[in-house]
């Protein structure tokens, strides 16, 4: 098991390296291939009206006249060993892991990622709890009462949840539950958990529910389909024939088997979400990683885009690893290392 985990971690590191290469290439190699010279690339990091002096200074600072491989090496070595930046009056030490330095905002990327993680984490964890509990429960009930009014109503709601985009449900919920009936605070109202847990939860109810509505709908449909399949399996019939109570048959045998694909998808969804729930964060103006990434892409702020991408990739790798380990626990049919 330990060896398996190490193998997966090593693969994860290789994956992260590939991610850096791809993102770096998008920002530095692709423009060059499209004929953009180093002056043009340098001008990205300067204000509205870049002077030749400023362009020359940025080129020197970012090694833009060096071969792309040298530039990439500088970036990766900075990531691992840290880097130093001149603020004019001081040297800023960007300790490893140095995810770079945003020349747009003149700030280090890593502290900003850490600063935004609690926002995205709060959003993702809260929403995940809601969508897992709601989605799986509704899915199981629908499967057990197939064709009933409850099943139809639940699946209709699920269809709505899957079909309606987050920015729509988000804006409507804000309009109704924040502006018309001021039950919840307006967008941009994030309070840190450590500051005031109640205000934290109060401010996140709408984003949680909005995000969970979409995912719960998907999970309800998935769970329903999985349960319908599983409940028709031979081992369920055997369990019933052995005289096990229906509750045990459903939860211990049926649900456990049906949960396997749910866990796989949940791992990916949750990992990705920790990298930023872009639409929800943007709709509710939550200062999380997703909004951070979107703003960075808009502003061509490479170090930030790279930072968020790497961060997201780390979460996806870890989430996948956890999922693989959970498999064995949830479904005895799966054998690790097989």
């Amino acid at each position: 098991m330990i060896r398996y985990i190490f193998r997966r971690l090593a693969a994860g590191v290789v994956l992260l390296l590939v991610v850096t290469m791809v993102v770096f290439a998008i920002f530095f190699l692709v423009p060059r291939l499209a004929g953009i010279d180093s002056d043009g690339l340098a001008a990205r990091y300067i204000g509205k009206s870049p002077s030749p002096e400023a362009i020359a200074a940025v080129k020197e600072r970012l090694n833009l006249d060096e071969p792309i491989t040298v530039q990439y090496w500088e970036f990766v070595s900075g990531l691992v060993m840290g880097q130093e930046y001149d603020s004019g009056t001081d040297i800023i030490h960007c300790d490893a892991p140095c995810f770079g330095y945003s020349f747009k905002t003149n700030t280090e990327v890593w502290p900003q990622l850490l600063e935004r993680l609690p926002v995205t984490g709060s959003l993702a964890i809260g929403a995940a709890v809601i969508w897992l509990v709601a989605g799986v429960s509704i899915g199981v009930l629908s499967a057990l009462r197939r064709g009933s009014l409850l099943d139809r109503a639940a699946m209709m709601t699920a269809l709505a949840g899957v079909s309606l985009p987050i920015f729509f449900t988000g804006l409507v919920s804000l309009a109704l539950l924040s502006y018309y009936w001021p039950i919840f605070p307006p967008g941009g109202s994030y309070t840190d958990f450590t500051e005031n847990p109640l205000a934290w939860a109060h401010g996140l109810v709408l984003p949680w529910v909005t995000l969970a509505f979409l995912y719960a709908a998907m999970y309800a449909r998935l769970t329903r389909a999985g349960m319908l399949d599983t409940m028709g399996e031979d081992f369920i019939r055997t369990a019933r024939a052995k005289g096990l109570p229906e509750r045990t048959v459903v939860t211990k045998h049926g649900l456990r088997a049906a949960l396997t694909p749910i866990i796989t998808i949940f791992g990916l969804d949750f990992g990705l979400m920790l990298g930023g729930a872009v639409l929800t964060e943007s709709t509710f103006s939550l200062p999380g990683l997703g909004k951070f990434a979107v703003d960075a892409i808009r502003g061509s702020d490479l170090p930030v885009v790279l930072g968020v991408t790497m961060f997201t990739a780390v979460f996806v790798v870890i989430a996948n690893l956890v999922v693989d380990v959970l498999y064995a626990w949830v479904d005895p049919r799966v054998r690790v290392g097989a």
Binding site: P31, G35, I36, D37, D39, G40, L41, A42, A43, R44, Y45, I46, G47, K48, S49, P50, S51, P52, E53, A54, I55, A56, A57, V58, E60, R61, D86, S87, G88, T89, D90, I92, K104, T105, N106, T107, Q112, E115, F168, L171, V172, L174, A175, L176, Y179, Y180, P186, G187, G188, S282, T283, F284, S285, P287, K291, F292, D295, R298, G299, S300
Partner: protein, 582 residues
């Protein structure tokens, strides 16, 4: 209760907008209706009050380039920094034209120019203090100019007019040369006198002295790129604590600010808060709802809120629709064939349907059709229209004549570039494409990201020539409210740069260059205005500019705000004047 219903109406309309995915229509107003808004704050100060107190809440859909007054280049920020960074010169708190005439702020008077026009002298008022109570001296102003203009390796976001104009030899800036005496472009004979030594006369120097770069910076508090996190205040407010970019900025009263030294009243609220990166539609709703007081970017509300405001009489009563001073145009590049021939350029000018382009932006509420390259608010503006057509819809007869003269009677092919993430600009390019198509002028649309448009594509002459971008969508606003401030960067030959170029027409007309150079050596403002009129005429005659819209913004002022007026200097509400009704 009324607000509740307004909120519901706003919400309902927004939902309807989303459902119908309805963009700006043509006609007289957004959505086709003929609406007019109150517009009181354009010509008067709305809700004048002497009341102090409260927290002024501002929000930005993005964030400023920097809060460092020496490292910023956006009008909204220049307007906003006046709350904590006073400058040698500023603009009066008056609506209309009077609001764009410079007045002394930290200085006792406007600049005194020497007979040869090469030295501008300012004297600091007595009793000026930084937020820690220490005295502001002329050396602090000199240091501010040195760091903001002569250290592009550290601070490169702001303009560098002082670098271009000051006779400073090969001074390397304060971060490479810590002896400020070596900076000979500015001298300080005593604690209160500042002399700017110019390479050539520049009659509009007072406008430069109104830029935030002249706000004093104590050398020992300067932290280079990090100074924006803790700017040492010279104004009525100071940073509550060290600011982290992206986090809410809170300004509190600066106890060492002496209002008796200030020509403006800019200390009404007790506290000022700015939230960054706020979703635009949500920001607008909060504005209408009263949860926010100002959209600090000052660009106006988005399409959804526009509908809400225009269709609701109560909301219209709190809205203004001023011209932003921003001119939207297409540059026609004479270095891309067949536009090396003037008649081919003229064919495009005569073929354009400006009403369709106006419609693409949202109708008359989004702007007035422009017929030349000077915005009406700038002195020297004349309503000339050298390529006017009936109803501004294009003229078949004139296009055909131009095409014939151009030697391509059946038309030609070219490319139109635009910023792909700016939907209205794309629609405008499509409108031009459709208009030209009927005359046989075939165009391919080429979209590029706004983030790199000026640095790498449209702003790179080499890229423009190689990709044959004959027609380039662009927009421009003045760095200061004068003809030179508006025209020099987009039509002086010296402003053509290999990257980050704004002179997209690559106009390098000796006569235009000469006139622009002459203008800033001419002391009489009326004579300067005449020169700008002449430059404008020549630029239009060059047929390298297709101006189509003097942009307008729909601004909303919540009822809680007092002392609201539209500043012609910054082209948005004057943030320094705002107060709150208690």
């Amino acid at each position: 209760m009324r607000k509740k219903w307004l909120g519901l109406a706003a919400a309902g309309t927004s939902v309807a907008m989303l459902l119908s995915a309805c963009g700006g229509g043509g006609g007289n107003g957004e959505g086709g209706g003929d609406y007019s808004v109150d517009n009181s704050a354009i010509s008067s100060i709305v809700d004048q009050s002497k009341e102090q107190g409260g927290t002024l809440k501002l929000a930005h859909s993005d964030q400023f380039d920097s809060l460092d007054p020496g490292n910023t280049y956006y009008a909204a920020n220049w307007d906003f920094t006046r709350l904590y960074a006073r400058t040698l010169v500023t603009y009066p708190q008056k609506p209309g034209d009077k609001g764009q005439e410079p007045i002394p702020d930290l200085a006792t008077d406007l600049g005194e120019v020497s007979d040869d026009g090469l030295t501008w002298t300012y004297t600091l008022k007595k009793g000026l203090k930084f937020q820690d109570g220490s005295k502001i001296t002329s050396e602090d102003v000199k240091y501010a100019i040195a760091r903001s203009n002569f250290a592009p390796e550290v601070l490169n976001k702001g303009p560098n007019y002082f670098f271009q104009l000051l006779d400073a030899g090969d001074y390397k800036g304060p971060y490479k040369d810590d002896n400020l005496d070596n900076f000979t472009g500015v001298t300080t004979p005593d604690d209160r006198t500042i002399k700017f030594h110019l390479k050539k006369p520049f009659a509009e120097f007072d406008y430069l002295a109104a830029m935030p770069q002249t706000s004093p910076v104590p050398a020992d508090a300067d932290t280079g790129t990090q100074y924006q996190t803790n700017v040492v205040s010279t104004g009525p407010y100071k940073f509550e604590s060290e600011w982290t970019p992206g986090q809410t900025l809170t300004l509190v009263r600066n106890e060492h600010y002496d209002p008796s030294t200030d020509p403006l009243t800019r200390n009404r609220p007790d506290k000022i808060q700015v939230q960054w990166k706020q979703e635009e539609n949500d920001r607008d709703k909060r504005l209408i709802n009263g949860d926010l007081h100002v959209d600090v970017a000052g660009l106006g509300v988005e399409a959804s809120a526009r509908q809400d405001i225009l269709r609701n009489e109560d909301l219209r009563a709190n809205a203004d629709n001023p011209q932003t001073g921003f001119l939207l145009y297409f540059a026609i590049n004479p270095n891309v064939e067949p536009f090396d021939k003037k008649a081919c350029r003229e064919a495009v000018l005569y073929g354009a349907d400006k009403t369709a382009m106006q419609g693409a932006w949202g109708g008359t509420i989004a702007g007035d059709i422009a017929t030349n390259m000077l915005p009406p608010s700038i002195k020297g503006y004349k309503p000339i229209d050298p390529y006017g057509t009936k109803g501004q819809k294009g003229s078949k007869k004139k296009v055909e004549a131009a095409l014939k003269e151009c030697g391509m009677p059946d038309g030609f092919s070219t490319n139109i570039s635009y910023r792909s993430d700016r939907d209205k600009e794309k629609k405008t390019a499509e409108a031009l494409q459709q208009a030209l198509q009927q005359y046989g002028i075939k165009t391919d649309l080429k979209g590029y990201p706004a983030g790199t448009y000026t640095s790498e594509q449209a702003g790179s002459p080499e890229f423009v020539h190689r990709e044959e971008l004959g027609i380039i969508a662009y927009g421009w606003g003045a760095d200061w409210p004068s003809g030179y401030g508006f025209l020099s960067q987009i039509m002086h030959g010296d402003s053509i740069k290999p990257a980050g170029n704004s002179n997209l027409s690559e106009l390098d007309d000796p006569e235009v260059n000469k006139l622009l150079d002459e203008s800033v050596q001419t002391e009489d403002p009326a004579a300067r205005a005449e020169i700008y009129a002449e430059v404008n005429q020549l630029a239009m005659e060059s047929a390298t500019f297709l101006p189509y819209l003097n942009q307008k913004a729909l601004l909303y002022r919540p009822e809680e705000l007092s002392n609201v007026y539209f500043s012609e200097a910054y082209k948005m509400y004057d943030y320094s004047a705002l107060g709150l009704e208690q």
